[in-house]
C-alpha cells in the first residue's frame, strides 16, 4: 500500500511520461527518417478521407441519423448498467430481476431493428448518386497530369 500522495500518483506520472515519449517519438521519427513528398493532395488540409472543401450544406444519408439514434438507445442501456452495478450488492435479487426486465425489453428492440434491416446499410441510395471527387481521385488526376507532361 502506498502511503503518501506522491506515491499514489506515481504510476500516473509514469503513464504520462510514456504517452509523451511515444507521441513525441513518432513525430520525431517521421521528421528524421520519413520520405518527403510534395503534391497537391499532401498540401491539402487534413480531413479523414474526404475532400476538405466543398459545399457546407452537404446532404447526409438518413442512415447516419438512424445509426445515431440507435447508438444513443443502446448507449443509454450501458449508462443504466453502471449505477445498477454500484447498488447491486444492497438490492440483491430485486436488482437482478429489474435489470433482466430492462435488458429483455432492450433486446426485444434490438431484435426488432435487426430484423427490420435497420442495421443493414450495404445498399445505399447515395452510392448510385453523383459524388464529389475524393482525395484519391485528385491524387490520381495529379499523377495523370504529370505523366502527360512527360
Amino acid at each position: 500500500m502506498p502511503e503518501s500522495l506522491a506515491q499514489q500518483y506515481f504510476p500516473l506520472l509514469v503513464q504520462i511520461l510514456l504517452a509523451v515519449l511515444v507521441a513525441g517519438g513518432m513525430v520525431a521519427a517521421g521528421l528524421l527518417i520519413g520520405k518527403k513528398v510534395k503534391n497537391r493532395v499532401k498540401e491539402m488540409p487534413y480531413e479523414c478521407g474526404m475532400t476538405p472543401t466543398g459545399n457546407a450544406r452537404e446532404r447526409f444519408s438518413v442512415k447516419f441519423y438512424l445509426v445515431g439514434m440507435l447508438f444513443i438507445l443502446f448507449d443509454i442501456e450501458a449508462v443504466f448498467l453502471f449505477p445498477w452495478a454500484v447498488v447491486f450488492r444492497e438490492l440483491k435479487l430485486f436488482a437482478w430481476f429489474e435489470m433482466v426486465t430492462f435488458v429483455v425489453l432492450i433486446l426485444a428492440g434490438f431484435f426488432y431493428i435487426w430484423k427490420k434491416g435497420a442495421l443493414d446499410w450495404t445498399q445505399t441510395e447515395t452510392s448510385k448518386a453523383h459524388k464529389p471527387p475524393t482525395a484519391l481521385d485528385l491524387m490520381l488526376s495529379d499523377e495523370l497530369e504529370v505523366a502527360g507532361r512527360r
Binding site: L91, L93, F94, L105, A108, G109, F111, Y112, K115, K116
Partner: protein, 486 residues
Amino acid sequence: MNSLFPTSADFIRFAPEIVLTVVGTLLMLLEPLTGDGKGEKPQLRWLAIAGLALAMAAAIFAYGDPGPAFNGMLLVDGFGTFFSVLVIGTGLLTVFCAQDYLIREKQENGEFYALLLFSIAGQCIMATANELIILFIGLEISSISSYILAGFLREDRRSNESALKYFLLGSFATGFLLYGVAWIYGLTGSTNLATIQATLAAGGVNPRLLALSAALMFVGFAFKVSAAPFQVWAPDVYQGAPSPVSAFLSAGPKAAAFAIFLRVFTTAFGSMADRWAPVFWGSALLTMIVGNFAALRQDNIKRMLAYSSIAHAGYVMVAVTSHSTVGTAAAMFYLASYAFVNVGAFAVVSYVAAKGEKHVGIGDFAGLAARQPLAALVMTIFFTSLIGVPLTAGFFGKFYIFKAALDAGMVWLTVLGLLNSAVAAYYYLRVIVVMYTHEPSVAVNELEPASSGLQFGWVAAAAATLALGIFPSALLEFASRAAILR
C-alpha cells in the same frame, strides 16, 4: 417499506399494464417474422385484440381488491378502473375500425398495434397514477406512442405534418406540466397526491407560488385535453393523422388526460378550488365557443370532428369546474359516451374517405343512405348523440353535466353551454341532411362494402351509444360511487 420486492397484490393491480406491455412487445417482435407480402397481418390483429381483451379482464379483476400499489405510486380505485377499462375498450374498438383502412393503405403491420397497445398502457398508468412522477411517465408513454401513430403514413405529407405539430407542441406543453410538478415538489416536499393534499390543507404554503405551480400544471393538462386557449393543435393533428388514429386520439388519450386532470385538481388542489374554479370557468366557456363556432365553418369532415371534439372537451370542462362528486361522475359518464361515439364517427369517415383519404369533404357524404344504409344509419346515431338528442348517450351526458353545473350554482355557464349545444346541432344536422337527401356523390358511388370487422365496430359503437342512452343508470351509478376521490 421493509423490502423493495413488490408483493403479489402490487402485480395484480398493475396487471393490465403488464399485459399490454408484454403483448405490445410480442407484436413488435412478431412483426418482422409475419406477413404474406400483401400488407395484411390478421394474426397480429387478433393477437392485439386478445391482448386488449386480456388487459380489460385484468383491469376488472384488479378492481376486486382495490388499493394502492408499489408504495402508493399507483392507486387502483373505481375511478382508475373506470378509465382503464374505458381506454382499453376504446383501443379494442379502434382495432376493429382500423382494419379496413390499414389494409387499404397497405399499412397493416405490427407497429400499428404495438404502438396502440403501448399508448393504452400509458393511459392505464395515467388512470391509476397516484403520484405526480408516475402520472408524468404515463402521460409520456401515451403521448410518444400517439405522436408516432399520428405520423403512421410515412409517405404522406399531411400525416408527417400532423405528427410533427403534435410532437413539437405536445413536448412543449409537457414541459409546462413538469415544471409545475417541480414547483409542487419544492413547495410541499412530496409528489404523492394524498400527501400534497394534506400539506396544502394544513396551510403555510406560499399562496402565490402555489397558484403558479397549479397554473403550470393546468397548461399541461389543458393542452392534452385540447381545452382553450391551448386547443390550436387539435384540428391540424386530427385532420392530418390517419382517420383511425384520429378516432383513437380524440377518445383514449383525451379520456386519460381528463382522468389525471380530475384527480389532480380534485385531490391535490382540492382545497384551493375557489381559486382555480374561475380559470376553469373561463376556459370551459371559451373551449365550447371556439369549438362550436369554428366547426360551423368547416367543409372537411375530419376538421369538423376535430373542432367538435374541442367543443366536447369544453362540456367536460364545465363538469370539472363544478368541483363536486356529481360533476366528476358526469364527466366520467360523458367521456365514456363520447369515446364510443367518436371512434364510431371517425370509423365511418375513414370508410367513406377511401384510398389515400381523398373524400373527406362533407359533400362526399351525399347520398350515403341510398348506397350504404348501414353506414349512414350508424353515422346518424353518432351525430344525434353528439348533438345530445334523447335516447342517445350524449343526451344523458349533457344532462348530467349541466345538472352538476346548476347544482354548483353556475347558472350563466349552464345557459351559455346550452346555447352552444344549440349552435352545435347545425353542423351535425347538416351532415345528416346531406347523407339522406342529396344525390349520391362520386365518392359514395365508388364505395366497396365494408368488411365484417368494420361493420362490427360500427354496430358495437352504435349499440353502446343507444344502450347508454336508454339505460344510463348502471354506468352512472358506478361512476357516482367511483367519483368520490380521496
